[in-house]
């Protein structure tokens, strides 16, 4: 009987720690994905501002050169763009952005930043595009800082909370 109690207590502590770890980890995942997104946007900037590569091709290049975990969304946009042919880049971005929050642990602000790319890309000349890229990269830096602060604040707390909650449940049950 004692053995079963110990085993189930361990199971409870383990699973609640896992839940805590999962919640805590979301913060570092968001930060990591924002960094990858920043990298992708920088590649896109080079393609557009310095290479003047047409957008569909530039999006594929971003997919190939960037970290696949995030860069695949650019390939999705390109696929949507070439298959729909309705002349509306923003709606392609909009369709792709619908699953970003769960897939990449993004917040609404992060998705909004991604969407703003859809509003500006390709619609103006290179000087203008460069200015817009600068603005977006500034915004992403702010978001990254915010993500880092949240990570520092919350990650440890959730992880500890998971373990402690598990122990608390065990104590109550015992």
């Amino acid at each position: 009987m004692g053995f079963v109690k110990i085993l189930s207590s361990l199971l409870i502590v383990f699973s609640s720690s896992l839940i805590g770890y999962y919640y805590g980890n979301r913060y570092s995942m968001r930060l990591e994905n924002l960094s990858y997104l920043e990298q992708c946007i920088r590649i896109l900037e080079t393609e557009i501002v310095y290479g003047a590569v047409p957008l569909p091709e530039a999006l594929t290049n971003v997919y190939l050169k960037g970290n696949k975990k995030v860069s695949c969304i650019f390939e999705e946009v390109k696929m949507d763009l070439t298959s729909n042919k309705d002349g509306d880049l923003f709606s392609s971005f909009h369709r792709v952005s619908s699953h970003l929050m769960e897939k990449l642990n993004f917040t609404k602000e992060d998705v909004e930043l991604f969407l703003s790319l859809g509003r500006l890309l390709g619609s103006s000349d290179r000087t203008d595009q460069e200015k817009n890229f600068k603005l977006i990269l500034n915004q992403i830096k702010i978001l990254k800082d915010e993500a880092l602060a949240q990570k520092n604040k919350n990650e440890k707390m959730y992880k500890n909370l998971g373990i402690l909650a598990g122990i608390a449940i065990v104590i109550i049950l015992l």
Binding site: I48, V49, A52, V53, P54, L55, P56, A58, L81, K85, D86, G87, D88, L89, L121, G122, S123, S124, D125, R126, D128, Q129
Partner: protein
């Protein structure tokens, strides 16, 4: 032939916003095969130019002369079409847009109208686009065959030739086909192909798209795309050793200088010019010089009295007598 022409038309529709292209798909086949221009103007009815006349297209794809029945084109249609035409990449077509047009795959051209902004005395960009004119390029292979006997000079060279034509009478098409014939060579006339340098200032002759000529110009052609005539002449003469230099729409004094450079180098020239007759050309100072110096040995005069590209006359440049037979 009609089937091919309809195919070309359907390809062009890929570049037009969904709402408009759906309407244009319903147009009767005899029009589809002959449409030369599709014109989109902000807030105005959808307009096509076909068989020397212009028509409006209704919501159901019917052709009418009544402007009030035409489908109205919205600003959104223009924006979407412009996005498709520029492949969502205005920045990649900056130079072309400054010149007022974009060349599409297939050699079709889209003219742009809107608010023009200047910086440092040159066009910086066009914004608030208000109209688009999609000109469908249809190669007319063989239209110059009957002219070749006039311009070939034995042994194996050509006379300096000027094609004179009012707008929309097919001078570029004739020139393009002449280039193709000259570069291929003509067995019938015992003429072997020549090396031809093409200065394609307005990207109409070769219709270059991503470095590939979209029109058949034969195997012995070097193209300088988007290059002005003076610079292009020097570049070709210096490096490409052409037998013939071809250029479209000469007219200003710099073009005349370029022609002189070509003659100095002993290279032959074939060109086109806007005009309806030699007398008409003489009224322009720069061209009058060329005519008086008897630089061109053949003048080919076009009009559209019997359809686009009718050869009205062929005139000898020394005697100014018609040699058409």
């Amino acid at each position: 032939m009609q089937h091919k022409d309809i195919g070309i038309y359907e390809n062009v529709l890929e570049y037009i916003s969904l709402e408009i292209s759906q309407v244009l798909r319903k147009v009767p086949p005899e029009f589809k095969a002959n449409i030369e221009e599709i014109r989109l103007r902000n807030g105005l009815p959808l307009n096509i130019y076909c068989m020397n006349s212009d028509y409006f297209v209704t919501d159901d794809g019917l052709i009418t002369k009544n402007k009030d029945m035409g489908k109205l084109v919205t600003k959104q249609d223009i924006i979407k079409t412009f996005q498709l035409v520029s492949n969502y990449s205005v920045y990649a077509f900056e130079e072309e847009i400054k010149n007022g047009f974009i060349t599409l795959k297939g050699g079709h051209r889209v003219g742009i109208g809107g608010k023009v902004l200047y910086r440092n005395n040159e066009v910086e960009k066009i914004k608030n686009i208000s109209s688009l004119n999609i000109r469908i390029a249809r190669e007319k292979i063989g239209v110059s065959n009957s002219l070749m006997k006039y311009i070939i000079e034995h042994p194996n060279t050509i006379h300096n030739t000027l094609i004179v034509s009012p707008p929309k009478c097919g001078k570029t098409t004739i020139l393009r086909d002449m280039i193709r014939n000259l570069s291929n060579g003509l067995e019938k006339l015992n003429f072997q192909g020549l090396k031809i340098g093409v200065i394609d200032e307005r990207s109409e002759l070769a219709g270059m798209y991503n470095g590939v000529a979209q029109h058949d110009l034969g195997p012995r052609v070097d193209v300088l795309d988007g290059c002005n005539k003076r610079d292009g002449t020097m570049m070709l003469l210096r490096a490409m050793s052409p037998d013939v230099i071809a250029m479209d729409e000469i007219g200003n004094i710099e073009d005349v200088e370029a022609v002189h450079e070509i003659l100095k180098a002993g290279v032959k020239i074939i060109a086109t010019v806007h005009g309806s007759s030699i007398e008409d050309l003489k009224s322009r100072r720069s061209l009058d010089m060329l005519i008086r110096d008897k630089i061109f040995k053949r003048y080919i005069i076009l009009d559209n009295s019997k359809g686009i590209g009718t050869i009205k006359d062929v005139i000898d440049g020394d005697t100014f007598i018609s040699i058409k037979y």
